[in-house]
Symmetry: C3
Subunit: 212 residues, 3 copies
């Protein structure tokens, strides 16, 4: 019963997250003056790309959108719908930062679960969570010909690693699956929101000397 | 007999298309002043990349160039040969636009066929066709550090989606495989050429407000 | 005994190479002012990306870092450590050029071996070697939003192709596995170092006419 609750929570968070990711990707597409199809495709790639890369690397088939093609329709539709409501989106800026944070931690826990289901070792489980959480945004930035924000943003990848480690350690310490999910989601989300609010960031590595 | 004819047509269109894709990629490489090996590699990636990404995502192995390594030689050779005839290529501009359009629709139908052979659902079949038709050009643009033209060009991805849907609906309506192939190829090709001729394009989504 | 020696040599060269690749990637990250996590991730992707792409394309699972997760820790750690010693790195410029060349040829021979183990044809074996040797650097440059250096650098991909062909021909001519490995590594390494020293490069293809 409890397991049912945590998995439902995770699934709802997943659906909210792919919609939110598709919508923020649509805004990035709009800044690049992409056409409607480009908006749609960038939304799908951003929302579903992280999980797809993880599944390809771990040989975990079929991919989520192959097994559940309505994910393509949901994310493509969300991206298209964003065009209609774009003018109001800046009022929702804070909401989308929260939804994006929800996505990051939910994707991470889902990615860890996939790797756990394949009996992979600890480090790979953490990597699987981080790939799921972060690669969608990296693909978005690469398709926009930008240096990925991930490599420079406030604790983004760090929150994913932290969430994954907390989730694994909680289970190792004997917490049941449900509590571990809820603990990892809530602590990861809090860390991300605190990082945004206080502008926390990792130290940067600045190297100006050219190697040549 | 008739099936033999349509599949032969598709295979010939495929070979023409990978050569044409490799040659236009070679010109893109020349604009970036790449060396001969770079020209060769960019030609192979552009011509064979869409099918490779599709096969990796759908777990359809071996990839076409692994099973038929002469595809690598054909596309690499076509890219290299382009260096020799580059000075005459602008006279062939219109020919190459047509060959590129042939490639787009042929790749799309081939991609749909692969997904149909794996018993995948409708939306995934269309996505498989579009990935096969469009991703090679996206990889080319990413390797040239450009925002992919796909996201901004005249109906390019749209033609692929249209071709795929037409192909599927024609078969659902009871048309035999051959007629469906020929109908999809000819209508898709016509739409693409009309779009180029009249400069049709999807509406663009322009969003200037920065989210930060 | 002899086989043991050549394979050990190859494995040591591999470990040296992934550390060297991660460290040069870290410097590239520093030039982009990435944060510490970005440095770490770029190091892992650069060092392990070529082999991962090869394994995904050839359906060769599990990937090296999935089977040996300590490779993630070694490369991530090497990238992080580079931050501490970056100020001295320019004194080691020549050492790193040599280590990078060692990596190129060692990755190439390892990639050929993987494809040979899957009974793939000659052209695919050479391609597998080249993908293993070169794609890590391509991913690094794409993530830095640069046109990949590979497409423009001195004989880089060419050295990989040469090493692969030499390795295959030597075995076809009846040389035992060990001698073939050592011959390919030493000749490939020599060619690369000569190319760097004398500034040898492939002719460039320069195409200035715009196709539109």
């Amino acid at each position: 019963m409890a397991a049912y609750d945590a998995d439902t929570l995770l699934h709802v968070a997943y659906l909210v997250a792919i919609v939110a990711e598709a919508m923020t990707a649509a805004l990035a597409a709009g800044r690049r003056q992409m056409d409607w199809v480009g908006v749609c495709l960038l939304g799908c790639v951003t929302a579903l790309g992280g999980g797809s890369v993880r599944d390809v690397l771990l040989d975990h088939h079929p991919l989520s959108w192959v097994a559940n093609p309505h994910y393509l329709l949901i994310t493509g539709g969300a991206a298209l719908g964003t065009i209609a409501i774009a003018r109001y989106m800046h009022h929702l800026r804070k909401l989308f930062l929260v939804l994006d944070a929800v996505g990051l931690v939910a994707f991470t826990v889902i990615g860890c679960n996939i790797a756990l289901g394949l009996d992979l070792p600890f480090v790979v489980v953490i990597a699987s969570g981080m790939i799921t959480g972060c690669v969608g945004g990296v693909l978005r930035d690469m398709l926009c010909a930008d240096v990925p924000l991930l490599f420079r943003a406030e604790l983004y990848a760090m929150v994913s690693i932290f969430t994954g480690i907390l989730y694994m350690v909680a289970q190792d310490l004997g917490l049941n699956h449900d509590l571990a999910v809820i603990l990892a989601l809530s602590c990861g989300l809090s860390l991300r929101l605190l990082a945004i609010h206080y502008g926390w960031s990792m130290p940067k590595f600045i190297y100006t000397r050219d190697i040549h």
